[in-house]
Each structure stands twice: as structure tokens, then as C-alpha cells.
Symmetry: C2
Subunit: 306 residues, 2 copies
């Protein structure tokens, strides 16, 4: 089954202790779709300005990603500028210029609405709700968010988490949203708020996956050297949803997935994020293949089995 | 095979957001030996003052722990006073009164030196080295430490980690000891310093176990409510070493343990620490049985399998 990714395409300027890159390919939809492209067909719904380099489109096309839903508008592309210090945790955002993204109001086509898996990458919860209203509830939807929306549009965000099949959030956001310092309680509180399933991403410490009836925890893939954490969350989501979409292909319904499939998908997401942060920008993520992914998956199994 | 635990017996005054307890039973040797007592025979080598309540000795005896190596000296028992705030992470130490512990220089008996497993709980590295020198290198030794010794007796501590079979440390201590913010690198740096095996405890995020040839990571047992983290590290060590000692009973040599045994032992340690922090002081830890331990072990397996 195919995956529709609705999110940003950006020109990022990223500073890490290892170097600085100006106006490089970025955005939530980019990282998520490149990551998912190793597992399933992917289509991006997004918008860029006239200044968006053709070679960046070429990179996405080379991964087989359908770009027919990417509008090219007069004006400048969305730009994000961030800086990581030595601990390479959350970046310091130096600048955000929405530019053409500021009036992004996607209307899904008939084709889009037939996609069985939809990823609502970080965006204004009102826009996420608008998309949810355009899609049949039979489709599988996942949404991500950031602190800004928790602080500024909490009630709309709670509607989003009720409206999707799985809500993806990081540990600090989960604590902020629920006011619970204990992450297990925070995850359960998100379920109480109405989410069906929640993934709490903990960076180097792995993740928690909580539903009304089940609980799963995994460490991260151990990495000695992290070059650039940009896109880690989106490449996780892309790998996770890409694998789920591929696992669902044998099923009559996108939502008929077993707990075992979800857990496998969470590990594939973990593996994709680990590859992503090993290189600047999309350098490693865009140059993978299924053999490398399976190799690391098997290696990971050995590292955590007891 | 039996386990010798060399460490402190204390009267703790512990304040958590849930209450305050004055002069309760504590100390590294107490938590470690009660935890280990569910798996194997345990003997404590320690010292207390004349003020040490008999009922505390009674509690340890009721767990079958051999107290013949506990000296009762004129003077006051070692006292520790700590406070946890709402996040229940590391305690703030309010006071440490070494009292009779200040001139604790244990000389092992012939019986002690025949124990196959020895845990050198947190102590002055010089004292740990003195014990290492009394024991045959054929015995299995593990050591723990705290920040104070990393800051004040680093070179002696490095001799300790070279002299034992397994070195147990928490994540902040590992970073402090190696000056490496990345924990995987920090763990490997401890191996480079000469440790044969190292466990890096990460509290709610589980642990890493690293040797020259292997790597293992596990999340913690998920707990919604933590009442009192005191003794978490020592109850982990006790469960870990207690299980190893029991697994080694079928072997000709205490050091002939498989990677699978180490991993199982790490999970048993994790389970014992999870029970310990669920109650004030030793309330839960001292009232367990193997059925409850096995139950949680199996439950944990289900939570992390994929």
C-alpha cells in the first residue's frame, strides 16, 4: 500500500560542531519520504518556491518519490536555520521563514484520498485537522507535532491526536503536553486524551510505544558518532510508516495490523533514524538499500535479545 | 555459588515528595544483599555502631543473609541524609556522617576468600584495591563507585576497574570518568581504560552492557510510580550478581559464564531495581519471592520482544 506524506520541503541551514551547510535540502516531508521510499511507494504533498533547486527534486525523484503533489509557487521556499552544540541534542532554532509555506492549504486529489497510509508531518494542527476531514476514516493516519503547537494550539492538537491512528511525539513534548514528568504516565495520559496509539521518541534512549492494551519499549541503535540529528524524527516516522504500509499490502484493510507488525515497524523506524544521523543532511539516508537496512535490523536484534 | 558483598550498612534519612523517613535501614551492602538473597547465599562484610537497631539485623537475617562479617563497633553507625525532588532522579545529599565507617578496613577470612562472587559496593577505591589484593584472581569481582571518587581518586579508581571482572557505573559517572558525552563512546572508553566488562546504568532509560567483543542494551522496566529511588543501583547489582552466582553453580569456574547468562542477569537486576523503587526503603524489596520476580521477568520479556 502507498504512503502519502504531507509536510514541509525546506532549504535548511544547519550548523553542527562538524560544519555548516547553507540552503541544503530539508523539511519533514523530505526526510520522512526518503526514509519510507525503501519500503513502499511514496507521494509528497507540499509546496516550494521558485528558488527550490531542481537537483533537490532530482534527488527525491531518484528515490522514486511521486512529486506531482508538490506545488511550485511564486516566492521563496520555506527556510529553517538551526544550530547543534556538542551534545547534539535538540537544535537551537536560529530562524524560521515560512515564505510560501505560510498559506499552504492542501486539497487532496481523488488519488491522494485513495492512499491507505497518510503521514501528517509536523504542521499547524488546524491544517492537520483540515486534512483529516478530507480523508475517509478507513485510512491509516499518523501525525507528528512540535512544542510550538503544544504551547499555542493545544486544544486543536488534542483534536488531531483523537483523529489519527497513531500520534508521534518526543519525550519533552509528551511531558509538556501532559504535565507529567514520568514518561510512562505521560504516554498513558496521551491515550487518555483520546489517542489510539502513541509513540514517545527518546532520542539516544530509544522509544516507548503505548496503546490502550499494550506497551513496548526499545533502546536506540547504539551509535558512537552522530553527525547531524536533523530529520531523525521524520526519518523514524518514514521508516515506521513505510514498513507498516508494506506489511499491510497483504491485508484487506490498512488497519488490520498485528502488534508484531507494529513492533517490527518501530525497529525499522529506529534503524532508519540511526542511519540518518550518521551523515550530514540526507547523505547517508538517501544512499541506502534494503540489504543495508536488513543488515542493521538483524544486528540490532542481536544487541537487544536476551 | 555464594556472593560476598562488601559495602556500607547505614541509617538513612530520606526525604521524597511522598514523605520523610528518619534513621531507616540503608547502605549499599544492605540493598545489594537483600536483592541478591533471592538468588543465592549472601554474606555481608561491613561495620555498624552500637546504635544499629537489632530489628534491622533481624530483617537481614530473615532473608538468610550471613551477618557474621558485620563488625559492631563502639560509636555511631554510618548515616546518610538525602532528598529527592519531584523528578525523583539523583538525590541531593544533605549530610554524610561516616562515623564507624571511617576506619573500615576489612580483612577477609579464609571463608570469605572462598566465595566465588564478590561485590565491592561503592567505597574508597583504596579500600577496594586492598580487598582485590586479598582475593585470588580466579574469583569473580564486580565494583561500583560514585562521582566523589571519580573526582578525588581517579587513578586509584582506574586501578580498581582494571582489577575487577565487571565495573558498574551510572551514565553521569561514565561521562565524568571519560569526558565523553556520548554514552556508547564513554562505555568503550572505560573498556580502553582497562575494564573487562562495563555496565552503564541509565535509570528510567535502562542500561548498556559493553565488553571488548559484545554490546547489549535494554530499556528499564516501565514504572508509572516511583516512590523512593534509594538503593536502585545496589538492588540492581545484587540481582545481577545474585543471578550470575546461581547460574555459575553448575559450572566448574565462576568466570565460565555465557553472554546469554550475563544478559539474563542484567534483566534480573533490572527487575529487582524496579521492585525496589516501587516502595519506600526496603518495603517492597524485602518482601518479594521468586514467583513475583519470575512473573515480572516474563512480563518484561513480552514488553520488549519484537
Amino acid at each position: 500500500m502507498s504512503l502519502l506524506v504531507i509536510g514541509s520541503m525546506a532549504l535548511d541551514t544547519v550548523e553542527t560542531p562538524f560544519g555548516k551547510n547553507i540552503d541544503i535540502l530539508g523539511g519533514s516531508a523530505v526526510y520522512a519520504s526518503v526514509s519510507a521510499s525503501y519500503f513502499t511507494d511514496v507521494k509528497i504533498i507540499s509546496v516550494v518556491g521558485k528558488d527550490f533547486p531542481k537537483r533537490y527534486m532530482g534527488l527525491l525523484k531518484s528515490r522514486g518519490i511521486d512529486l506531482s503533489g508538490v506545488q511550485v509557487k511564486k516566492g521563496k521556499s520555506f527556510r529553517w536555520k538551526g544550530k547543534y552544540d556538542w551534545n547534539l541534542n535538540s537544535p537551537q532554532t536560529l530562524a524560521t521563514h515560512l515564505n510560501v509555506l505560510s498559506d499552504f492549504r492542501p486539497v487532496l486529489s481523488d488519488f491522494d484520498r485513495k492512499c491507505d497510509f497518510i503521514f501528517l508531518a509536523n504542521n499547524d494542527p488546524e491544517l492537520q485537522l483540515d486534512i483529516i476531514s478530507q480523508v475517509s476514516p478507513a485510512k491509516f493516519m499518523a501525525a507528528d507535532t512540535i512544542e510550538f503547537w503544544i504551547n499555542n494550539k493545544r486544544s486543536k492538537l488534542i483534536k488531531v491526536l483523537k483523529g489519527v491512528d497513531i500520534f508521534i511525539i518526543n519525550e519533552n513534548e509528551a511531558r509538556l503536553l501532559t504535565k507529567e514528568p514520568n514518561l510512562i504516565k505521560a504516554a498513558k495520559a496521551i491515550i487518555s486524551l483520546g489517542a489510539k496509539k502513541v509513540i514517545v521518541k527518546k532520542g539516544e534512549h530509544g522509544l516507548l510505544y503505548v496503546t490502550k492494551r499494550s506497551f513496548f519499549a526499545t533502546p536506540a541503535y547504539p551509535l558512537e558518532t552522530i553527525y547531524d540529528p536533523t530529520g531523525a524524527g521524520d526519518s523514524f516516522a518514514g521508516g515506521f510508516l513505510g514498513f507498516l504500509a508494506s506489511a499491510a499490502s497483504a491485508k484487506p484493510n490498512a488497519k488490520h495490523l498485528s502488534e508484531a507488525s507494529y513492533r517490527k515497524a518501530l525497529i525499522y523506524g529506529t534503524i532508519m533514524a540511526s542511519y540518518n544521523v550518521e551523515g550530514f543532511n540526507l547523505k547517508v539516508l538517501s544512499a541506502l538499500n534494503r540489504r543495508l537496512i536488513e543488515k542493521r535490523y538483524k544486528e540490532f536484534e542481536k544487541l537487544v535479545r536476551f
